[in-house]
Structures are given as structure tokens and as C-alpha cells.
């Protein structure tokens, strides 16, 4: 208590001596700096600090969400590869995990950023690994479907399909419980989810014009862009976290007793159904808790963006506190946002974990 009062009184005296304002009034003032990428939100230097910080949060969100999805895919693939009966594949996956895990993420970020911004050629002699895709020191360019009103309808159809698939699964489960008859609800659901948007797309005459990136002058115009900063951060985060996720997946699969798959086999369950009904639910129980902390890690590690100049929350808050001098408020904002993010992700994952956990069993 006394220590706390001591720090607070010191801080207040220091703030007073250095003529630093306190409070969050600065949020409504004009920011006066440009932001390199704005996640498709409108922003200009004349906007307020509040809006600038909002853009930062959106950018953090964007990298975290895309990172989580890609790292899960790559990590699961690597984890299964490490368990493969193929000696070569298993060894290569093990090599990947050992090397990537033991090198700091920041070094890897600098490495990727150097490769993209210094070692790739200029836009004029950009590499083109696929038609329409260009790698240059200005980032990665790829074609994008041209804006068309049908896209909105396709999104609506996708949502409708999801609802329909959920109803279908419920009906199938209830019928199986009542009569024992099975219904391929997974494939039917998948068909509905993917089929409805496809029908809408075909019904509108399949408008498949692509907006191609074209070299004009010193840079490309048109198409979509991953800036060097975004691409380096995404590569770094995904490659680094995938190594940890691979280990989690491997441990999860190994944790399921051999007897379980043998018993499922003895019951006459086909391999695929044994995997889905017997092995996977048990493996998930082991996988989910450590996976949660990896998702949290991606979110927190995305703050390293500040080192390579991607405008995430930390780097914008840093600019803000340098301009206004209000360090306490700036850092408070950073910490509050991350705490909210962390707590919400862990709350969601805890809820999911309760769903896959054994019912009635003690932890």
C-alpha cells in the first residue's frame, strides 16, 4: 500500500515537473501521421488519435486471425508428417520443428523482412511463380475477382447454407437416436454450405473477371497486395508458431492409447469413422488447452510488428506516445487491449474445451 502510494506520488510530481498532461483527452485530437496500411478502413492524417489506434487494433486483428488459421493448417500438417510411416517425411518434419523452435521469432522476422525488402528484385523484374502473382521488393501482388454485386449474395447464401447444415445435422442426430438410421449429414452439410453460394454464382452468369496486377511505371497497380511488412510478419508468425503446433498435434495423437484404435477396429468401424468418432475426440482433449496458449502467443507475438514497421496497435500506440508524451496512457491502452483479447480468446477456448472434455469426469 505504502509502496503504491510512493510510486503514485512520485509519478504525479514528475508529470507536473515535466509539464506532461494526463487523461485521455488527447484521443480526440488530430493524429497528424499517415498509416501505411489500414485494413480497408478509411483513415487520413487529419483523423483523431482514437481512429488511428482503432486502425492499429484492426491491423492486429487481421494478422492474428489470418495467422491463427494458417499456423493451425501448417502445424497440423507438420505434426502428422512427423508421425508419418515415411522415414524421410518424418525426418524432414522433425528437422523443421527443431530448427524453427530454437531461433527467436524476432530474428526470423528480420530475416524474412530482409529477404523480401532487399533480396527480391524490383517491380520491373518481379518474380512470377504463378501467372498473375508477382513477388518483388514492394510486396506480393496477386489477382483479385473484380467487385460484383453477386459477391454479397454469395456471402448471404453461405450464411444460409451454414444455418441449413446445422439444422440438418440436428435432425440427423435426432433421427439416428430415435430410429438408428444413419444419414451422411457431414457430406450433405458440406454440399449445402458450398453448393448454395455456387448456385448463386452460376445463376448470376458466373462473373469471373479477375483484376490483374499490371506494371505501370515503377510499381504495380490493380490486384491485391501483401505489403513487405505484412508478408514478413505473416510468414514469420506462421512458420514459427506452426513448429509449436506441430508438437502439440503430435503429442495429442500419441496420447491416445493404441488400444483405442484397435478396439474401434475390432468393433468393425471403418478407419475414417474410427478416426472421427474415436481417435480425434480423445486427441482433441489433449490438444485444445496447449493450442489455446499458442493462439494467445500469435496474438501477443504480433506485437513484434513494431520492429519491422507493420502498423499494428503497439507501433501506432508507440507513435502516439512519442508525439503526445503521454506514456502512461499509451501503455495502458496497449495493455488493456491485449488483456481483453487474451481473456476473450481464453474464455472462448475454455468454453470449447468444456464441450470436448469428458462429461462428468474430474479434471
Amino acid at each position: 500500500m505504502f509502496v503504491g502510494w510512493y510510486f503514485v506520488s512520485n509519478t504525479l510530481r514528475n508529470l507536473d515537473e515535466r509539464k506532461i498532461a494526463t487523461g485521455f483527452a488527447f484521443l480526440t485530437r488530430e493524429a497528424g501521421f499517415e498509416i501505411g496500411e489500414t485494413s480497408a478502413l478509411a483513415y487520413s492524417a487529419a483523423d483523431t488519435y482514437l481512429r488511428a489506434l482503432g486502425i492499429g487494433i484492426a491491423n492486429t486483428f487481421r494478422i492474428a486471425v489470418i495467422g491463427v488459421v494458417l499456423a493451425t493448417l501448417l502445424g497440423t500438417l507438420l505434426g502428422l508428417a512427423r508421425l508419418s510411416h515415411n522415414w524421410l517425411v518424418a525426418r524432414l518434419a522433425a528437422l523443421y520443428v527443431e530448427v524453427i523452435r530454437n531461433v527467436p521469432l524476432l530474428v526470423q522476422l528480420f530475416f524474412w523482412y530482409t529477404i523480401i525488402s532487399e533480396n527480391l528484385p524490383g517491380p520491373r523484374d518481379a518474380l512470377s511463380p504463378l501467372p498473375g502473382v508477382f513477388l518483388s521488393n514492394r510486396g506480393i501482388k496477386f489477382p483479385l475477382p473484380q467487385d460484383h454485386p453477386v459477391h454479397l449474395w454469395m456471402v448471404a447464401a453461405l450464411l444460409a447454407g451454414a444455418v441449413l447444415a446445422w439444422l440438418l445435422a440436428r435432425w440427423a442426430a435426432r433421427r439416428q437416436a430415435a430410429t438408428g438410421q444413419q444419414f451422411p449429414s457431414f457430406w450433405a452439410g458440406l454440399g449445402v454450405v458450398l453448393g448454395l453460394p455456387l448456385l448463386v454464382f452460376l445463376g448470376a452468369g458466373a462473373p469471373h473477371e479477375l483484376e490483374q496486377p499490371v506494371l505501370s511505371g515503377f510499381n504495380f497497380t490493380g490486384g491485391a497486395t501483401l505489403t513487405p511488412e505484412f508478408a514478413a510478419l505473416l510468414f514469420g508468425l506462421v512458420i514459427y508458431t506452426a513448429a509449436f503446433i506441430a508438437e502439440i498435434v503430435r503429442a495429442g495423437v500419441l496420447a491416445v492409447d493404441r488400444g483405442q484404435s484397435e478396439a474401434a477396429h475390432a468393433l468393425g468401424l471403418p478407419r475414417r469413422r474410427a478416426m472421427r468418432l474415436v481417435i480425434l475426440p480423445q486427441a482433441l482433449r489433449v490438444i485444445v488447452p496447449p493450442m489455446t496458449s499458442q493462439y494467445l502467443n500469435i496474438t501477443k507475438n504480433s506485437s513484434l510488428a513494431v520492429a519491422i514497421g507493420y502498423p499494428d496497435l503497439v507501433s501506432i500506440a508507440n507513435t502516439t506516445l512519442n508525439q503526445t508524451g503521454q506514456a502512461i496512457e499509451g501503455i495502458l491502452i496497449i495493455m488493456l487491449v491485449y488483456l481483453t483479447l487474451s481473456l476473450s480468446i481464453s474464455a472462448f477456448m475454455n468454453w470449447y474445451n468444456r464441450r470436448v472434455a469428458l462429461t462428468g469426469a474430474r479434471a
Binding site: 512520485n10 510530481r13 515415411n86 524421410l88 530454437n102 528480420f110 530482409t114 520492429a307 501503455i331
Partner: protein, 367 residues
């Protein structure tokens, strides 16, 4: 009898081995062929870039490019090795951080050997760290005083990591015990501390240390940047270590607590003599993993401008003479970090196997 037991089936020939392990089915064979193709396509060019065509001695990156356009420029590391190891430490005093690095390595090696796991080890650490402090700062025994703004390079990375672990570890034990305390206030404080720290990124702690901490102190008192960053690292690592220690504490069967209590031991004696030795022993492997994380995390001090291994490399790259060889520089940094972290992780895995056979593990399994 023994003759029968010794008659094992003959080892399979290489062809049989390849059939079982590489070509057991059509998809497996395709996978093998794809892997081989990728290896053949990327490994030889990398080897010739990194080793065969590389330039090992040259005065600048331009000379490197002229000597062999297609190879790596390792000459950079050779020319700048003093800077990478010791930063801007006064040149004629370089033996002091040099000896410090050796002392660090000796401390790590001694601590890794289970033979030396006695109370004397704590004393050895205290003596070692004091000696390193005296060597680096100087000002005693006729050594010139070197202010710590000039410390840098690999020795700074080792300093941050080692002092970070040395101070965070005791703090984490206090936090872990506090979290399991029966006093609600103590427990609440510990839970809030641990969860708050684990919820925010390290970088925000480092920013706090570099811009906020000066405001907390009375005017006139200044704490230098290195010490502030070190404090942030310690406070950060302690929260993560505390959770590992708590895991160890939870794994100790209730009987141990009850038996210690039945013997009439006080709380301090119960904890220090019965509970902690067992709890720490079983949490060593995850503790080492957290140490690896902290070692890697020290690289983040680059962002607040401390001169560690990584910033030394980055600074050297900014010289016009060495522009455009970032890839080599970062590969070298990766290699240095990899050597330390890989050694630690291999050690922790071996220890885990050893401890799984040891008496503690057996006792735990029986209960």
C-alpha cells in the same frame, strides 16, 4: 537359453529398409519422390551458396560480391566478430567480457551436471555472478570503470538471460506458493499478477520499463536503461515460471503435505525441506523450456535500443561497407541462438528421460 535369446533376426538390407520405410504404398512412394525432388532442387544450391562459393575474407561486402557474386559473404562475421561479441566495450578491455562469457559457459556446464546439484551450487552462482559483475563494471582491483551503456553484443544477451533467470526463479517460487496460499489477499495478489503479466506481450513490459518507469521514481534518481529492461524481463519471466512451479507443486501427492505436517514441521521447513525439493525436481524439464523461451525473448530488447547480439549485428549492417548482406547476418544470429537453445532442449529431454527412471518419479507413480 542365452544362445536362443541372442539369435535375433538378421538386419534387413538397405533395399528392404527402403521398401518398408520409404515405399510402403503408392502415396508413400509419391511422397518420398516429392521430398527427394525438393531436396535435390534446394539443398545443393544452398550448400554451394553457403559453403562452396562463399567468401570468407574480404574488407567489405562490395569486395565480397566482386570475388564471387553467387556466394555468401561470411567475411562480415570475421571482420566484425569483436563487435558482435562485445559491442562497444572499450577495445583494449575486451578480455573482460571475454572472460565473462567463459564464466557464464562454465556456470551453465556446472549447473547441468546433476553431481553438482547441492546447496554449494547456489554459492557458486552467487560468486560467479559477482565476479562477472566486477569484471564488466570494473572500478575495483585496478580495473577501469566501464559504464554499462557500453556493454553489448553476445555478452549482453547472456547477461540479460542469465540474470533474468537467476532473479526470476526465486520470485516465481514465491508467486507459486502465494497462489496456493490459504490467505485470500495473498492468493488474489499473486493470481492477478500472474494473469496480468501473462496476458500482455513482453514488448509492452519493455516499453513500460523504458518510458514509464522513470516517471515512477523520485526526481533526481535515475536507473539506467539496461537495469530497467532487466527488471522488465525478470518480472515477465517470473509470471511464466510461477505457473510451471505451481504445476510441480500440484503434482506432489497430498500425503507428502500431511506427513510433513504430522511430523510437526513449521510451514517454512515443510516447504523448504519436503515440498519444494520434490516439486522443483519434477518441474525441471518444463522449467528448462521456459528458460529457452526467456533466452529467445531477450532478443526483444532490440526494440527499445539495447545493444544485444542482434542489435550489434543490425548496427554493423548499417555501415555502408557491409550493406546488402542481411541474410548472412541473420543466419549467423540464428545459428548462435540455435546452439544455445538446442543444447538446452536436448539437455532437458535427456533429463526428462533420466528423471522418469529416477526414485522421485517412481514414488509419484506409486501413490
Amino acid at each position: 537359453m542365452s544362445a536362443v535369446l541372442r539369435r535375433t533376426p538378421a538386419l534387413p538390407g538397405p533395399l528392404e529398409w527402403a521398401r518398408v520405410n520409404l515405399f510402403s504404398s503408392v502415396p508413400n512412394a509419391l511422397l518420398t519422390l516429392l521430398s527427394l525432388y525438393l531436396l535435390w532442387k534446394y539443398v545443393p544450391p544452398f550448400v554451394s551458396w553457403a559453403l562452396l562459393d562463399a567468401v570468407w575474407q574480404a574488407p567489405s561486402s562490395k569486395a565480397c560480391r566482386e570475388a564471387a557474386g553467387a556466394g555468401a559473404c561470411w567475411a562480415f562475421i570475421g571482420e566484425k566478430h569483436r563487435f558482435i561479441l562485445f559491442g562497444t566495450y572499450p577495445f583494449e578491455e575486451h578480455w573482460r567480457p571475454g572472460v565473462s562469457i567463459l564464466l557464464f559457459l562454465a556456470l551453465y556446464a556446472v549447473s547441468a551436471m546433476r553431481r553438482f546439484w547441492t546447496p554449494w551450487l547456489v554459492l557458486a552462482w552467487l560468486a560467479g555472478l559477482t565476479l562477472i559483475g566486477m569484471l564488466m563494471w570494473g572500478g575495483v582491483f585496478g580495473l577501469r570503470y566501464v559504464e554499462n551503456e557500453r556493454w553489448g553484443g553476445l555478452v549482453l544477451t547472456l547477461l540479460l538471460a542469465t540474470f533474468g533467470i537467476a532473479f526470476a526463479f526465486p520470485l516465481s517460487i514465491v508467486l507459486a506458493l502465494g497462489r496456493r496460499s490459504e490467505m485470500p489477499v495473498v492468493r488474489a495478489v499473486c493470481v492477478i499478477y500472474i494473469e496480468l503479466i501473462r496476458g500482455v506481450p513482453l514488448i509492452s513490459m519493455l516499453f513500460m520499463a523504458s518510458v514509464m518507469m522513470p516517471l515512477f521514481l523520485p526526481s533526481g534518481v535515475t536507473v539506467d536503461k539496461l537495469l530497467r529492461a532487466q527488471t522488465a524481463l525478470i518480472l515477465f519471466a517470473a509470471a511464466y515460471l510461477a505457473e510451471v512451479v505451481r504445476g510441480g507443486l500440484q503434482a506432489i501427492p497430498r500425503g507428502q503435505y500431511e506427513a510433513a505436517e504430522a511430523l510437526g514441521l513449521s510451514f517454512a521447513k515443510r516447504t523448504a525441506l519436503v515440498i519444494l525439493p520434490q516439486a522443483l525436481k519434477i518441474s525441471i524439464p518444463p522449467l528448462v523450456n521456459t528458460f529457452i523461451g526467456l533466452f529467445k525473448d531477450t532478443s526483444l530488447v532490440v526494440i527499445i535500443g539495447l545493444f544485444d547480439l542482434l542489435l550489434a549485428l543490425k548496427t554493423a549492417l548499417n555501415e555502408p561497407a557491409w550493406s546488402g548482406i542481411g541474410v548472412e547476418a541473420y543466419l549467423f544470429a540464428s545459428l548462435v541462438y540455435f546452439v544455445f537453445c538446442y543444447a538446452m532442449s536436448q539437455y532437458s529431454q535427456r533429463l526428462e528421460r533420466d528423471l522418469a527412471r529416477g526414485p522421485t518419479a517412481r514414488a509419484l507413480k506409486d501413490t
